[in-house]
């Protein structure tokens, strides 16, 4: 549903991204990995229309991103940036409710959806706490609930929706990381297209349908997680020697150093 067609990005003299084609399908959980500065966040910014590619184009449901009305696009595409700075003391539930801004489903339904999204992210008990007093991980989960509320499966929601997350697990404890990935898996199974920038290769190996590996602004591998995340390629891209072992509990592949 979201196509990047031969996009490049040049900032000044620096070629940040080079000739990348990528299609995010409905119901798919696609993860982007790569070393720092490889262009993962830049690619996400192109995919959501925050930046314009210097060549190539990005289409949502076959129509160029620029061609969408702002609210209609926001009902189909929700984005969680790497960092968000919110210095105003909104209550957590008010932050989540902001995700319903592009919708006209009425305040009752909006409130209900905000509550369901908060429940999914495990922040229901923080609903009435001021955002500015939350810990880093709690803020992250509240922001996640906000973008989930934006593309919540609702009778009036457009049938195809995409969620773009830039390092959503950053700042989350281990249990919440796993819970988040399981939730994303479940949402993808319901038809949501999910694109996630992630550093944890084991999470990618376990939960992603496909993995895109970026190196110095180029997409050097794209395919099913187990095919892409081979020890040899990881060593070539990250410069770290790793082994692929069978997990003692379920025998599924796991990466260790």
């Amino acid at each position: 549903m979201l196509q990047l067609d031969r996009v490049s990005l040049r900032q000044g003299a620096r070629q940040c991204l080079q000739d990348i084609s990528l299609e995010l399908a409905a119901g798919e959980l696609l993860m982007l990995a790569g070393p720092n500065g490889a262009g993962k966040s830049s690619l996400l910014k192109l995919a959501c229309g925050e930046w314009r590619p210097s060549a190539g184009q990005v289409c949502l449901e076959g129509r160029a991103l620029d061609g969408w009305a702002a609210a209609a696009r926001a009902r189909r595409l929700a984005v969680l940036p790497q960092q968000s700075q919110l210095d105003f003391a909104f209550l957590a539930e008010e932050v989540v409710s902001l995700g319903r801004l592009p919708h006209t489903s009425g305040w009752r339904r909006d409130r209900q959806i905000a509550r369901e999204a908060m429940a999914l992210m495990g922040v229901s008990e923080l609903a009435l706490a001021p955002y500015t007093q939350l810990s880093g991980g709690e803020r992250r989960r509240v922001q996640l609930a906000r973008v989930l509320a934006q593309i919540w499966p609702d009778a009036e929601a457009p049938p195809q929706r995409a969620l773009l997350l830039d390092e959503p697990t950053a700042g989350l404890d281990w249990a919440h990381q796993l819970e988040l990935m399981q939730n994303l898996r479940r949402l993808a199974a319901q038809g949501l297209a999910v694109l996630v920038v992630l550093h944890d290769l084991n999470l990618a190996l376990r939960y992603a349908d496909r993995v895109g590996l970026l190196q110095r602004g180029a997409l050097c591998a794209l395919g099913p997680a187990q095919q892409v995340l081979q020890p040899q390629r990881i060593q070539q891209v990250f410069g770290v020697e790793v082994s692929l072992v069978a997990h003692p509990r379920d025998g599924r592949p796991a990466i260790i150093q």
Partner: protein
């Protein structure tokens, strides 16, 4: 975090407060006004009420609402609770415009007292609007208006206008110098129905339009790109806010002089009590700003009666200590 007031109770209370402030403003002044005289149709009492006090109360209300509402909108736009409508250079520009008119009328003897007064308003309005448009142009890039560039350009234009202003004050004679500094202290003494009408026309667009942008301003507090992803046309929103605020504040400063702290303090204080949701905050600041300035103006008339205390002095005297006490408990509602 002090507990918030329930939203449904706030606006009716503020309306009642505004009404009381208006009655207090009508009732107070150097000349005692006996309500029985009015009832009996006394001509002098009617003149005081309808030609002096009523326009003054209305003008104070319009200017207070404009300053407070503009402050709330600019704080939202800059995502900084300490922003002030004057950061777009409008106040310093208006001061310069007013000083220029005063200095020129002293030099080449422009018009009589009445004409001089309206020239003064026109000069201040033009100065304020020109300065803020200049700041806006300087901060504009093909990608839109950068709030940081706007703050910096506002500072620079403010410093430039301040320097020219001081230069003028240095050059003019004592009488003009006194008029310049009196103007800068702020006063609503020149209120009449024409000025009320002018204020209503120039401040009206901001009062009517800014509250409609409340949901978009809420989204903007999350960040500019976050607001864009929520479907807000951030570029158009910024342009609209800056132009409406420039128009309203230039009019407010031109008609009332420099009135300190209303635009900073009222939204700041109300945000503390009501939370940052602009859907409630914007109408509440407009009502509270109007009530506050009507009360301050009434006080300025009675404190030193029959003389008048310039209202800018009064608002700064009351506002600064209040603001300092807020800063001291800042940790309660802001991150360190």
């Amino acid at each position: 975090m002090p507990s918030r007031l329930p939203p449904y109770a706030v606006l009716p209370w503020l309306c009642a407060l505004l009404l009381l402030a208006g009655l207090f403003g009508l009732a107070s002044g150097p000349a005692p006004l006996a309500w029985q005289l009015l009832w009996n149709g006394d001509a002098a009492a009617e003149l005081i009420l309808w030609q002096l006090r009523a326009p003054r109360v209305l003008l104070a209300g319009l200017i207070g609402a404009a300053l407070a509402l503009s402050g709330a909108a600019m704080q939202g736009l800059c995502r900084n609770p300490l922003a002030d409508p004057s950061i777009i250079g409008v106040t310093s520009g208006a001061s310069l415009g007013a000083s220029l008119v005063i200095a020129l009328s002293g030099l080449i003897g422009l018009g009589g007292a009445l004409a001089g007064l309206s020239l003064l308003v026109g000069g201040a309005f033009a100065g304020g609007l020109l300065a803020s448009l200049l700041v806006y142009r300087l901060a504009s890039t093909p990608q839109g208006v950068s709030v940081l560039s706007m703050l910096l350009a506002g500072l620079a234009i403010g410093a430039l206008a301040g320097a020219i202003n001081s230069g003028l004050a240095y050059l003019v004679d004592n009488e003009a110098l006194r008029r310049i500094s009196l103007w800068q202290m702020g006063s609503l003494g020149g209120a009449n129905w024409t000025r009320v009408a002018v204020a209503a026309v120039l401040v009206g667009p901001a009062l009517l339009w800014l509250p409609r942008d409340a949901p978009a301003l809420n989204a903007l507090l999350l960040g500019e790109s976050e607001a864009r992803h929520l479907g807000v046309d951030v570029t158009a929103l910024k342009r609209r806010l800056i132009l409406l605020v420039a128009l309203a504040v230039a009019a407010a400063v031109a008609l009332g002089g420099v009135i300190a702290f209303v635009g900073l303090l009222v939204p700041h204080l109300l945000r503390l009590w009501l939370g940052p949701d602009h859907r409630l905050l914007l109408p509440a600041t407009a009502l509270a700003g109007a009530a506050l300035l009507i009360l301050a103006d009434a006080l300025s008339r009675v404190l030193l009666a029959p003389a008048e205390l310039p209202i800018g002095i009064l608002t700064a005297l009351l506002g600064a200590p209040l603001f300092l006490s807020l800063l001291r408990q800042r940790r309660l509602y802001l991150p360190a």
